[in-house]
């Protein structure tokens, strides 16, 4: 299968196979009025299979979201058809308005304007907890 290369935009590469749709939703790519390609189950020498997202516009993407979904993904910034920047990621220390706290006793359940903020409490287990009530993200 062939997908045209982009001239100016972003390629999110090395996404764990099966995670592209989650990233698409969390990054809000459905709201963009530009071409977005989601390529699933691409053969990869390193990973066996991987997903790729190509965005045909140089827009800011939330690196924390990508780092949370798949810290192994890479971000390639393309300008005039050339790779100008390659970013690697790690698990973000905090996540703001990426996850929702589901604890009905949490202050975020009744104060709608509050940001939902989670902090990384155990990197090895990829464990995030709500900063307000310490409920585990799931």
């Amino acid at each position: 299968m062939n997908i045209d290369s982009i001239q100016n935009g972003i390629v999110i590469d090395h996404i764990k196979a099966g995670s592209a749709m989650e990233l698409y939703d969390l990054l809000g790519l459905d709201a963009l009025d530009v071409s977005v390609a989601i390529i699933k189950n691409v053969s990869s020498r390193k990973m066996g299979k991987k997903d790729i997202i190509k965005i045909d516009a140089d827009i800011p993407v939330d690196l924390d979201v990508i780092g949370y979904v798949d810290p192994g993904a890479t971000i390639n910034v393309i300008k005039d058809g050339l790779l100008v920047e390659k970013k690697t990621l790690s698990l973000p220390k905090t996540l703001t308005n990426v996850l929702k706290c589901k604890n009905p006793r949490c202050i975020t359940s009744c104060e709608q304007e509050l940001d939902h903020v989670f902090r990384l409490t155990d990197e090895s287990k990829k464990l995030y907890r709500c900063v307000y009530c310490e409920t585990k993200a799931n």
Partner: protein, 306 residues
């Protein structure tokens, strides 16, 4: 602006400092009677409380300060839909320090982020209640002469009991502490407290449903109430509320210098027949709470003035 939301906001050195100040207040109360003159404490209590609110207010009055009080959301702007953040900003214009209780977890943190004066968390739902832990620490310190080498029994609702979680967090920073966790299966200590504190610091603990057989090993027995307000299901509450009731005959094999504690209010988990036993320390805890709140108010106001 420094606020105290969780007991872990205070270092061990600061806890020692507060214990020392509280001990000095007990010895020389007259030296502190004007320490907070012309200062105002706002007590914002959006959930029922007798002890904690009165303790904060008595603490401020004994420091020579004044108190502004809001009790119950129904009579405040919160009933009109005002956010915790806006309430904190508004009260910052009137008072010098806030003590806040709120039924929602994290409410005190939200208030502290918006207030321009120190905020003390006086209980945020089932989450944290740091000044109760300060009261508990002073009680253990005065009754046992220190913290190291103690075996501490925690009995009752260990799942929703915020005082238990805070006490474990605070005690985990001292040496050679051992915990005995006594609860029904349904109200066991949450795994995150076990993993993040007990296992992380390598603290030995025993988990059991049997109070009687483990009581002789304890230096401190911390009883808790099964709290109706933490249950979504009334049937579960009724089934579990009478699991542990401490009576004089159950204390037969306990140590002679056992320190029996309870954050109060009690319902029936400690028989009134135990109140005259010299090992009963729960009313001393109430008094110690006032002294520790005095020490904390002093510390935060002093830091805010710097």
């Amino acid at each position: 602006m420094r606020s105290i939301i969780d007991i872990l906001d205070l270092s061990v050195e600061e806890l020692d400092e507060l214990l020392a100040v509280a001990t000095d207040i007990i010895a020389h109360p007259q030296q502190y009677q004007d320490a907070c003159a012309h200062k105002k404490l706002a007590t914002l209590f959006f959930e029922p409380s007798t002890r904690t609110r009165l303790s904060f207010e008595a603490a401020m009055y004994e420091l020579g300060g004044n108190v502004l009080s809001v009790t119950g959301g129904a009579t405040s702007s919160v009933a009109k839909g005002e956010s915790v953040a806006d309430t904190a900003k508004t009260v910052s214009c009137y008072a010098d320090i806030i003590a806040m209780r709120h039924p929602k977890e994290g409410a005190a943190l939200v208030a502290a982020r918006s207030a321009t004066i120190p905020v003390i968390n006086a209980g945020d739902g089932g989450h944290c209640h740091p000044t109760q832990t300060l009261a508990d620490l002073l009680t253990i310190y005065r009754e046992k002469g220190g913290f190291n080498g103690l075996t501490i029994g925690l009995c009752g609702d260990l799942k929703f009991g915020r005082t238990v979680h805070s006490l474990i967090n605070a005690m985990s920073r001292y040496n050679d502490i051992r915990f005995i966790l006594v609860s029904p299966q349904e109200l066991k200590l949450p795994s995150y407290v076990k993993n993040d504190t007990l296992k992380k610091y390598g603290l030995p603990y025993t988990q059991t449903t049997d109070l009687q057989s483990t009581l002789p090993e304890m230096d401190v027995l911390y009883m808790t109430r099964v709290q109706r307000e933490r249950f979504f299901n009334e049937e579960d509450y009724l089934r579990l509320k009478d699991t542990y009731i401490l009576t004089p005959d159950k204390l037969r094999d306990a140590k002679k210098d056992l320190c029996i504690m309870h954050p109060l209010p009690r319902v029936n988990e400690i028989s009134v027949a135990i109140d005259d036993d010299p090992r009963a320390c729960y009313f001393k805890q109430v008094l110690n709470g006032k002294y520790m709140r005095m020490a904390l108010i002093l510390k935060l106001l002093k830091e805010a003035a710097l």
